[in-house]
């Protein structure tokens, strides 16, 4: 097999956690890691969907402690590195230390795209602990490529080995993704990554566009299992790359089998690009809001579509799931007032 052109990180066991309301079991983690590891996937991310420490009222409680899931992943992997995600403000450095002790070797530190400076403590700690540090700039569609580069430079200055363009809302067009990757590639010495969501059905296309701009790391989730309308499907990305003559280092047939036989039986609560999923991408709303919005819509007798559009208007950022209740309560009140007036 030729030398891979980029490094693939599979985030089924982190971003995919959103799609099943953070209910992965140890057994599922063991089977997914075994299949992806055997297929040659070099990095596998395992955490609560909102990163270490994400288990909460606001984001949903983990059914199994993420540290237990991490331990199973580390014990199962033979060649793959195990990565974690953490968002400063949600997770703390103690969480990172525990993950390191268990054996995680890649620390992905995520902030909203304009707030890179809150990652300094965590990126530095990751390096001190001998981990690979990845900066993860979320909702990167909200600012220009030049502004994104300024934030990426901050992460690089704290010691990040790679900085990702993260399309958390699945709102980027191919041109949006390419321009951001190209600007970061030109302005950084460290590596650059792309994390794509599929709300506009462009996740694979955006990743291929990023590869044409020389992106070094690409994220996928097997079967696309992930927040919102789902992620770039790992097995499709690998197949499309191989067809385009881009070596991935991953066995396409083995990863297809992993998708079909191991991940697909884990039934997501969502999984197709329905109207709400598409609306996230269209309105530029953080993907993990989807299930919470559907649940609140049901609870308060309002339309999930209206919640998502209002969240977009309010310019909420990743992590502000509490605003879903706020919006739902307000929509319910307005509907009651309209009824009383009518």
């Amino acid at each position: 097999m030729s030398e891979p052109r980029f490094r693939l990180t599979d985030s089924t066991l982190r971003d995919g956690s959103h799609a099943i309301a953070h209910r992965f079991t140890e057994d599922e983690v063991r089977r997914v890691v075994a299949a992806l590891d055997a297929a040659g996937v070099p990095v596998i991310e395992v955490s609560h969907g909102d990163g270490l420490g994400g288990s909460s009222f606001n984001y949903g409680f983990s059914a199994t402690d993420e540290m237990d899931l991490l331990r199973v992943a580390v014990e199962t992997a033979t060649q793959a590195k195990i990565a974690i995600l953490m968002l400063p403000g949600i997770g703390i450095r103690e969480d990172l230390r525990r993950a390191r002790e268990i054996g995680a070797s890649v620390a992905r530190i995520a902030t909203h795209c304009t707030e890179a400076d809150i990652s300094a403590q965590h990126i530095r700690l990751a390096k001190e602990l001998g981990m690979e540090a990845v900066g993860f700039l979320m909702m990167a569609h909200m600012i220009s490529p030049a502004e994104l580069l300024e934030q990426a430079k901050l992460m690089e200055s704290y010691g990040a080995d790679c900085v990702y363009v993260v399309d958390s809302a699945g709102a980027m067009t191919i041109d949006d993704a390419r321009r951001r990757v190209a600007t970061l590639k030109a302005g950084l010495s460290c590596e650059v990554g792309i994390h794509a969501h599929n709300n506009l059905s462009l996740a694979v296309a955006n990743s291929l566009g990023a590869l044409e701009e020389g992106v070094d790391q690409v994220d996928g989730c097997t079967t696309g299992l992930g927040a919102g309308a789902g992620n770039c499907p790992t097995e499709i990305l690998v197949a499309a790359c191989e067809r385009s003559g881009i070596p991935t280092g991953v066995d396409p047939l083995a990863v297809m089998d992993a998708a079909e036989e191991v991940v697909r039986p884990i039934k997501p609560i969502q999984g197709v690009i329905d109207r709400d999923g598409l609306l996230l991408g269209y309105a530029g709303v953080y993907g993990s809001f989807l299930l919470h919005s559907k649940r609140a819509a049901e609870r308060y007798g309002v339309d999930a579509k209206d919640i998502l559009l209002e969240l977009g208007r309010r310019k909420v950022v990743g992590g502000q799931e509490d605003m879903i209740i706020d919006v739902a309560v307000e929509l319910q009140r307005r509907a009651a007032e309209a009824q009383a007036a009518g």
Binding site: G89, E115, Q121, D322
Partner: protein, 301 residues
């Protein structure tokens, strides 16, 4: 009545906003603003407002310690750790607005009366001042196995100190939910939102409710404490009536079948910071409230 003399140490944003509030106090007399930078905008502003202002640091203050009763520390946790023993030795009582956590954690409607004679009190964090009263309000009428808060502030209102020490915010606030609020377990989350125009500070408080809670008692206890906070932070308000949600929640404090959610907004008074910075306003307003109560206790004694 004779006013009680006090000083502000730290001439940055917090110190300057605090100065504007102390200037209105009928109980405290601001006698000095102490900084270390001769070019400081805060010191210049203090002089303009007619207050004595020095850039000679705490040495200046300690040389005339007998002229003061109270010191408001508006520097950083690291600086306060250096200063605190010196204040105490000089007989100055400290109200600490940094996250140094040397003295007892104080939230006015909850435990101020218990610490009026403490040599050093700590004001936790902005999120703590905004949310601990709610947790306390619920915990005094119901069993709270777990409390969680989400504090969202405008990016522009979060200074470099907060940004580079975001873990301190979450840890200090989490522990206050338990130690002061009365929850069995606590978790705090902080989010920065860069939207323009800047958003007002938002806080969401979730309290897990043990079986047998009385919905009306919980709701009216929350409304009561919101009024108490609003008495010294006028822009502090509930966005909606407390919301009760029934479901199965597997919290760190055990599985519960209900939670109450309080959606709060804090609009600042616009003294020095713009009104969106409710997070900064609630710290300085709480500091004045604490200082006035400590001063009244001194005068009464």
């Amino acid at each position: 009545m004779t006013k009680v003399p006090c000083a502000i140490v730290g001439s940055g944003n917090i110190g300057t906003d605090l100065m504007e509030k102390l200037a209105r106090s009928e109980i405290l007399e601001l006698r000095a603003v102490v900084g270390i930078d001769p070019e400081s905008e805060g010191l210049r502003r203090a002089r303009e407002r007619g207050f004595e202002a020095t850039h000679e640091g705490v040495d200046w203050l300690l040389a005339r310690a007998d002229e003061f009763e109270l010191v408001f520390e508006a520097t950083s946790a690291w600086v306060h750790r250096q200063n605190a023993p010196r204040y105490e030795e000089a007989g100055l009582r400290a109200i600490d607005l940094t996250p140094a956590k040397l003295g007892p954690l104080v939230v006015p409607p909850v435990n101020l009366a218990a610490h009026l004679d403490a040599p050093n009190v700590n004001l936790i964090t902005c999120g703590g001042q905004a949310t601990v009263p709610i947790v306390h309000a619920v915990a005094r009428v119901a069993d709270v196995p777990y409390a969680e808060i989400v504090s969202t502030v405008a990016s522009r209102s979060a200074g470099p100190g907060t940004r580079q020490n975001i873990d301190e915010f979450t840890k200090t606030t989490s522990s206050a939910l338990v130690e002061v609020g009365g929850a069995a377990f606590g978790k705090a989350i902080m989010i920065l939102n860069p939207a323009e125009p800047p958003i007002l500070m938002r806080n969401t408080v979730f309290c897990a409710l043990g079986d047998g809670y009385d919905r009306d008692a919980v709701a009216s206890s929350i409304l009561e404490v919101v009024d108490e906070v609003a008495a010294y932070v006028p822009g502090y308000r509930l966005k909606a009536e407390p919301v009760f949600e029934e479901d199965t929640f597997r919290t760190p404090g055990g599985t519960v079948s209900a939670r109450v959610v309080a959606l709060l907004e804090v609009e600042g008074a616009g003294d020095y910071f713009p009104p969106y910075a409710g997070n900064l306003d609630i710290m300085t307003a709480s500091a004045v409230r604490v200082g006035e109560a400590m001063a009244s206790a001194v005068v009464a004694a």
